[in-house]
Symmetry: C2
Subunit: 406 residues, 2 copies
């Protein structure tokens, strides 16, 4: 009985040791027994990738990106082989493939390659033979056979891209949490699991710090309408389904609240108020590989203004150096930095048509005497930069105010 | 200044940690600076391969051989990437390749594949650009892109095969010993390093237990006259050169003495003395994958005889089971086993024309009151099975008798 095709992706924490690998095998086999065709995408075991990066850095603090990909891609290759063995042990047929072997062709941007095309012939062939096909996530190959990787969380992208290409009925993303929550349950124990969420909301949640799924993979899923189901590999409970549109009661404005403590703020004082200045600063930063997140510029007074923006803390020192160099050349004022910040955000498609949501958010923070240092908004989210120590309190207060614990 | 092409192979112990990888990089770069083109073949770091095998066995005690190759080939892939990074650190250009990427095409006998052909175009192209080319040893790929491995010590084979294909001026095998010794220096401190040895002698030494180089790779080197230099990665001293013919003083009969304690003896008593009986027994064993080493059958009396043979201890239980089953069907007598044995062998092309060598060997053992349980001879070697506990004493006595310590 053919029930359809499911792509299942298991992250590193789901494969952290022998017992967990066996559990994953059992789950995969249980789906096979129900009659599904299965393509399984896996990440490297546990912290393997981080360990390999550490090893590389001991040898060369600036390793060649091509060689880095050569190194890191071994992590997923180990996983596919072991999972195949575990499935064989349960007396089901399975076959493993590297990204190169299944023809996941990428450009040559090593360490953050983009998928150009996937030739699924080999996978289809093995599925036809009744085999469970296991594919190494996170990796691909250029047209000249160089091994590439797809960037952090790239296994999600492999799964989504394969689900799209194979027209899978569902793409299950197995992780160590039960699904997407209204906020981080470690901060607010009253956080509730969402049954469903839209691609747009998930995208905001992912890029705002809810580290459940890679943002790029959600973009691809949205673009091609790939139905995603984020769920736990440690339980049988359904998780959160990510879909195009969620039908909800009219009064649900906010779906989730995120907290991000990985950023630092840079402020450039007295920036000359003439065209092209901001462009020059941010072009220089992006040219040096610095990813700038939130940018805020105030209304200008007396022909000069202040510009604030956030970068990942890891890149702060580098960003400050570059910023100071540029700003000197265009005679700005001081460059200030602040690592002691947190970004708290509310996300929800419902707020599109409700301008009062922002005011509500600011009101809650004011009541808790939390000062807002920067504000940034999108169609479906509002983010505030606040002092780091107030992060958790802000999340709790907002969670309550918008009725997410109910 | 172009000086020629050298293939260098570094084993796992030469790459056991970050410092050793850096040392290997320094050595490679020093050759580059002298003007040599270099192809470097590496094994997996330290005990990686054994650790991966152990991990696989925890998941499935009878892992699929295809998946085993998928798993084990990651070891060498890690090595090539790290060595490339270490060479980059020394500001020399280097590029790493997997076996698949350089086109080492093998048959599909997973875990012990044979090389069918090598397409060296990619290597030549990179050498032309002035790069040091680093190739993952031990692995290849089938015509249908399945990853294969070449069996234990397979990196030696990769190196020799590449040296042959690229017509290298020399193939250096770097290991953790200074070269080939007259016998194991841990047993006989007076053992001397040999400056040179013939392929045939080395082949006997390798298959008789001197674990410096894989036997198959020596066969290939012999077949294609690839000049081998076995030497230590921890010193600058020259090691042992393996060549076609060694010009020696007439009176050097024996080049080396080996001791092998990995075998066990099986004896089948009262085997019916009619044609085809031995064939049946050994066909059954080889059919089940048991590799039989020494076989001795005595002159028969009264229409029956005893057959003794040795197998690897690891396979003893399996071999005994198979042997008992076969011998019952052809009404033989008892099947005996003995793990308490050692094989001591003398090797030397010089003994070809000197029939007295065997008698000399037996005389030495008799004088030490060491009983000989089995004898087997080849053109250039004589092996005796003796009680395990006498192994070291036999080696020392023979080493002295044949004047190897001088």
């Amino acid at each position: 009985m053919h029930k359809g095709l499911i792509v299942q992706k298991f992250g590193g924490s789901s494969l952290a040791n022998v017992e967990r690998i066996q559990k994953v095998a059992e789950r995969v086999v249980s789906y096979r027994k129900k009659g599904y065709d299965l393509v399984v995408v896996v990440s490297a075991l546990g912290d393997t990738t981080d360990e390999l990066i550490e090893l590389a850095n001991k040898i060369n603090t600036q390793p060649s990106e091509r060689e880095m990909d050569m190194l890191l891609s071994t992590g997923e290759q180990i996983s596919v082989a072991l999972l195949a063995m575990a499935i064989h042990k349960l007396r089901k047929e399975a076959i493993s493939f590297t990204g190169a072997q299944v023809g996941i062709i990428t450009d040559s941007s090593h360490t953050c390659a983009r998928i150009i095309k996937i030739n699924c012939d080999k996978i289809r062939e093995e599925l036809k033979k009744g085999k469970i096909v296991i594919v190494a996530g996170f990796q691909g190959v250029t047209l000249t056979q160089d091994i590439t990787t797809l960037g952090r969380g790239g296994s999600d992208l492999t799964a989504v891209a394969l689900a799209k290409e194979l027209r899978a009925d569902e793409c299950e993303i197995y992780t160590d949490v039960e699904g997407i929550f209204t906020t981080d349950p470690r901060i607010e124990p009253k956080a509730k699991k969402l049954c469903s969420i839209t691609y747009d909301e998930m995208l905001e949640m992912a890029s705002l710090g809810a580290q459940v799924m890679q943002a790029r993979s959600i973009e691809v899923a949205k673009k091609f309408d790939v139905p995603i189901h984020v769920r736990s590999s440690f339980s049988e409970n359904p998780g959160t389904v990510i879909i195009k549109e969620v039908k909800r009661m009219e009064d649900v404005l906010v779906s989730g609240i995120t907290l991000n403590k990985t950023e630092a703020k840079i402020t450039i004082c007295n920036v000359p108020d003439r065209p092209g200045v901001a462009a020059k600063i941010f072009k220089e930063l992006s040219g040096k590989g610095i990813s700038v997140d939130m940018i805020v510029q105030n209304v200008s007074h007396i022909r000069s203004t202040d510009i604030s923006f956030t970068v990942n803390k890891v890149e702060l020192a580098k960003a400050i150096k570059i910023t100071k160099k540029v700003t000197q050349s265009i005679s700005c004022g001081e460059v200030l930095q602040d690592e002691d910040i947190a970004r708290v955000s509310i996300v929800g498609v419902g707020m599109k048509s409700h301008p009062g949501v922002a005011a509500n958010m600011f009101g809650v923070l004011a009541k808790k005497e939390i000062n807002i240092e920067m504000i940034s908004t999108s169609d479906i989210s509002i983010s505030c930069i606040i002092k780091r120590k107030f992060g958790e309190a802000a999340v709790k207060a907002l969670h309550k105010k918008f009725g997410l614990g109910k």
